[in-house]
Every structure is written in C-alpha cells, then in structure tokens.
C-alpha cells in the first residue's frame, strides 16, 4: 500500500470515530472537542488532496474561531443530559430521513465520474492554491461571493442588534470622559487640625 493511501485511511478512521463521538459523548464539552478533532482530521484529508488553502482555512476559521466560541458557550451551560436525550427514538425516523436525503443529494452532485475515485493530476510545484482560488473568487464568482458577504454582514448586524436592545441593566463606560477626569474631580483636600492624642491612662 502506498504511504499516502495509508495516511488517508488512518485520517478517515480518526475522522469517523471523532464524528461518532460528537453525537455519542455524554458530556457536551467532550462532544465539542471531538468536533474539533473531526475538523482537524478533515483538514488533513484536504491536505492530501493538495487543497492546502482550504485545509488551513478550515483550521483557522472553524477550529481557531468558531469552535472556540462553541466551547465557550457549552462550558458555561449547565445542560441536563437526560432531558436532552429523552426524545431520541421519536426523532430518529425524521433524522434518518434527513440523512438519507443528504446522502442522495451528495450522490447526485458528486456521482458518476467523480465516484470512480480517480487520482487528480499532480500539480506543478510552484502552483499556488491561494492565488488560483483568489483569482476565481474575484472574477468568475465575484457576484455570488459578494452576495454571500452581504448576507453574512446582514446576519452579523442582526445578531448585534438583537443583543444590543435596551436592556437597562447594562452599564456603559465612556472612555473619553474617563480619560478627561482631573484630580480635582475625584478628591478634595480637607484641612484637619492636628490633634494631640490623649495620653493613655496609666494602669493603677
């Protein structure tokens, strides 16, 4: 077996196990960490496909930012696990249906020639994945790309607006005013005459 194939199978095995752990782990923090592992292994598989830009971006964006926030939230929540698992058997048929549909869609998109697992032609050494991707995004796919960016921006503003409604219990600081504070605003000197303490009474 070629070394690359071996690496592929090892990574795939880890990926499958990690994905399984995401849904089977009892502790949500363990699930989130398993998802991190799954992302990382997926990045490894993408590297095998010579898609280094996508692989590194996956690590940078999903592991470095998205999953940190996930973990952040999951760690702070006090989740009742039995409550979460209650409806498992009721939801199973619906879940299976969704999963089946997704598999079907993927087969329809990727099916035919791509399922033959043909080895992609090796690229020259000076081929820059990043440059090609950038060129494609900003020429052929510029409108969909900008559209996606606008959608993301709207979602971001909506999320901020939702959390920043008047709450009343938030305290705001104005750094400009804080900086302008002078000594005289905070303290004033009081002239207290020095007093002589009474001499302690001597023991009888």
């Amino acid at each position: 077996m070629e070394f690359k194939t071996l690496v592929f199978y090892v990574l795939s095995a880890i990926l499958l196990l990690a994905s399984l752990r995401v849904i089977t782990a009892r502790n949500p923090v363990h699930s989130a960490l398993a998802l991190v592992l799954a992302f990382f292994t997926a990045a490894g598989i993408w590297l095998l496909l010579e898609a280094e830009f996508l692989a590194i971006t996956l690590v940078l964006v999903y592991i470095g930012a998205v999953m940190v926030l996930f973990l952040f939230v999951v760690m702070m929540l006090d989740i009742n696990l039995t409550e979460l698992r209650k409806g498992f058997w009721n939801y199973l048929p619906a879940g299976l249906l969704v999963a089946g549909l997704m598999v079907l869609e993927m087969v329809m998109v990727l099916g035919g020639a791509d399922l033959g697992l043909a080895e992609p032609a090796p690229l020259p050494a000076d081929y820059s994945n990043t440059k090609e991707l950038g060129r494609l995004l900003y020429t052929v796919y510029v409108y969909p790309f900008e559209l996606a960016a606008v959608v993301l921006l709207v979602a971001m503003i909506a999320a901020i607006a939702l959390t920043h409604r008047k709450r009343g219990d938030t305290k705001r600081l104005n750094p400009a005013e804080q900086v302008k504070v002078k000594r005289a605003d905070r303290i004033y000197m009081v002239n207290i005459k020095s007093q002589k303490p009474e001499a302690p009474k001597e023991d009888e």
Partner: protein, 342 residues
C-alpha cells in the same frame, strides 16, 4: 551539505527522509528549548535591573545555572491532579498548549535556505496552528474543576480570539505589500536596507501587531488571564510540577515565535540593516532579541489593563486602525506612489 551526506542517504534508503527530517526538527527544537530556558533568566535579570534589584545570582556564576535548577526542581515535584478534575483532559491541556507553540516553527525561515518546510501558505499555516493554542488554555481551565481556573480560561479565550482578528488584519497588510503568503518571499520583498523593511510603510499595522502579540501571549500588561491579585493564577492554578512547567515553556516558546514573526514580517528577517554588512542568521537573532527585550520592558513598565479596556482596545481601536490602513495601502497601490508599499 547534501553531497557530504550522500553516502548516508544510500545507506539508509527510504528511511533517510524521515530520519533527516527528525534530525532537522531536533536541530530546531533543542536550541529553542535552551533559548527559552535562558529567556526566563533574561527576563528575571532585566526586570530585576529595571527595578533596581540584582535578580538571580546564586546558582552558578552570575546565576547562569538558575534556569537549569528551576527545571530540575519542577521535574522532581509531584504532579497533583485534583480529585474533581476531568483527568484525561486535565493532562491533555498543557500538551495542547505546547504542541502548537512548537509546531508553528516548522515553516519558520531562519535564513533563505535554513527552513524545515518552505510551503506556499506559510503565514496562513502559522496563523492556523497558533490559533489552536487557545484550546489548551480552555481545556485546562475547564478540566481543573475550579472557579478561578475557569474564569481564567474564559478571560484568556475571549482575549485571544479578539486579538487574533486584529493580528490577522495586520498580516493582511503585509500580504498586500509582499504579494505572497510565503515567509521567505515576504522577507525578500523587504530587500534594500533598513528603510525598505515593512515597519515603515505599514507602521500602524506594525504597532497593532506588536501590541496584539503581547495580548495574544497573555503577558503583562494584558495578563488578566492569570491576574494573581484577583484569580490567583488563572487557568493553571491547579497545575503543579512538570504540568505547570509545560504551560510556562509554551508561553515562552510563543513569545519567541511572536518575536520571530515580528522580525520576519516587519523588520526584514535575516536581511542586514546596513548595505555594507552581509545578510545572515545573526540579524534575525538580533531582531528577535530586540522584540523580546521590548516584551520584558513592557512587563516591567506598564500596569495591568482592566478587562473592559483590553476588549475596547482590541475591538474598537485596533480593528478600525488596521482596516483603515489596509484601505490606504490598497488605494495607494493603484496610484503612481504604489512603489512606497512594495
């Protein structure tokens, strides 16, 4: 070098490549470990003199054996695992902090030829790998099952994620100027002496990167993650012995890495500042030492930031500054004065 090793290559056959790579990894990690041990010594000495003290001076001449004594002490101490801790994750935490700190060095070019892996997306790789360091902190804080550790982990992760954005934007400016993600190409783009290094045309980004670097390292004045006065020692309060030492090592390895990246991205890497002196690895060492000295100087000089001030600085000051300067650089490149930014 390659011709000298030719008989060895024949002898080892297919095993040659992994062995040779391993040798190179050791050649990077071993000096790194020694330099970070002596960075702790330098830190104590420099801060000592800044505060009119002498610093360590008992172990060995001038206290030079102090880091080794410290290391031995930490090695021999017992590792205590709190009874309420999540044992597996508790041990995994320090490992996950140190591993990215060392892995990032894989693409770090010391000179034009002295690099373990010269990959196209080198800068992106370093950003991706270093962004994983936060997991160790979060896991350590959570697995300790302690309120102080947990608070420290939350503070640290929020801080690291915030400043990573400013740092990333600062790097975008460098990418625009160098037109490459390859670290060697970025240094080559700065050829021509002191005034051609990117610190000058990208000065706001340089400052943002340097300060964000300090914040990313959770070092003073941004060390609220371990703020001794309020949360004891933050995320590593429950760690002892070697497990604690690993956190310590990772912090100093990251310090050297940030110093190295600053010298490569903004200070011309191994390029000589004077036209009459040749480029060499000594220059990058000198530049890294200078940036490291700045880090120590900051620690001795500035009082700790308040947490909301840290967040404000990251989100409301640094990110707008970087965005504006990226637009300035982009616009200037379309004019006849574009050469100023190349």
């Amino acid at each position: 070098m390659e011709t000298m090793l030719a008989p060895l290559v024949e002898l080892l056959g297919p095993a040659w490549l992994p062995i040779w790579t391993l040798v190179k990894i050791i050649a990077i990690v071993a000096p790194l470990m020694i330099s970070l041990a002596y960075l702790t010594y330098a830190e104590r000495k420099i801060i000592g003199y800044m505060q009119v003290r002498i610093g360590p001076n008992r172990v060995g001449p001038l206290g030079l054996l102090q880091p080794i004594a410290d290391g031995l002490k930490l090695l021999m101490k017992e590792i205590i695992i709190p009874s309420g801790a999540n044992k597996g994750l508790f041990i995994l935490g320090p490992v996950l902090v140190l591993a990215p700190a060392l892995a990032a060095w894989a693409v770090f070019p010391f000179t034009e030829t002295l690099v373990l892996a010269n990959i196209n997306a080198g800068l992106l790789y370093i950003m991706a790998i270093t962004s994983m360091g936060v997991y160790g902190v979060v896991i350590a804080g959570w697995a300790s099952n302690s309120k102080y550790a947990f608070l420290g982990a939350l503070r640290s992760s929020a801080q690291i994620v915030s400043y990573e954005i400013a740092m990333g934007f600062a790097l975008v400016g460098v990418l625009m100027a160098a037109q490459s993600l390859n670290l060697i190409d970025i240094v080559k783009g700065q050829e021509g002496g002191f005034w051609h290094w990117y610190w000058l045309p990208l000065f706001p980004l340089f400052i943002v990167y340097l300060v964000s670097g300090v914040a990313e390292l959770n070092r003073a004045p941004f060390d609220v993650a371990e703020g001794e006065s309020e949360i004891v020692a933050g995320f590593h309060v429950e760690y002892s012995g070697m497990a604690f030492a690993v956190f310590f090592l990772a912090e100093y390895a990251n310090m050297i890495l940030i110093a190295g990246l600053t010298s490569i991205l903004f200070l011309g890497g191994w390029l000589s500042p004077f036209p009459f002196l040749p480029d060499s690895i000594i220059w990058i060492g000198a530049k890294m030492s200078f940036v490291l000295f700045l880090f120590l100087w900051f620690r001795a000089t500035f009082p700790r930031y308040r947490y909301d001030q840290i967040m404000r600085l990251g989100w409301k000051v640094f990110i707008p500054v970087t965005l504006v300067w990226i637009v300035v650089v982009g616009a200037a490149m379309q004019t006849p004065y574009g050469y100023l930014f190349h």
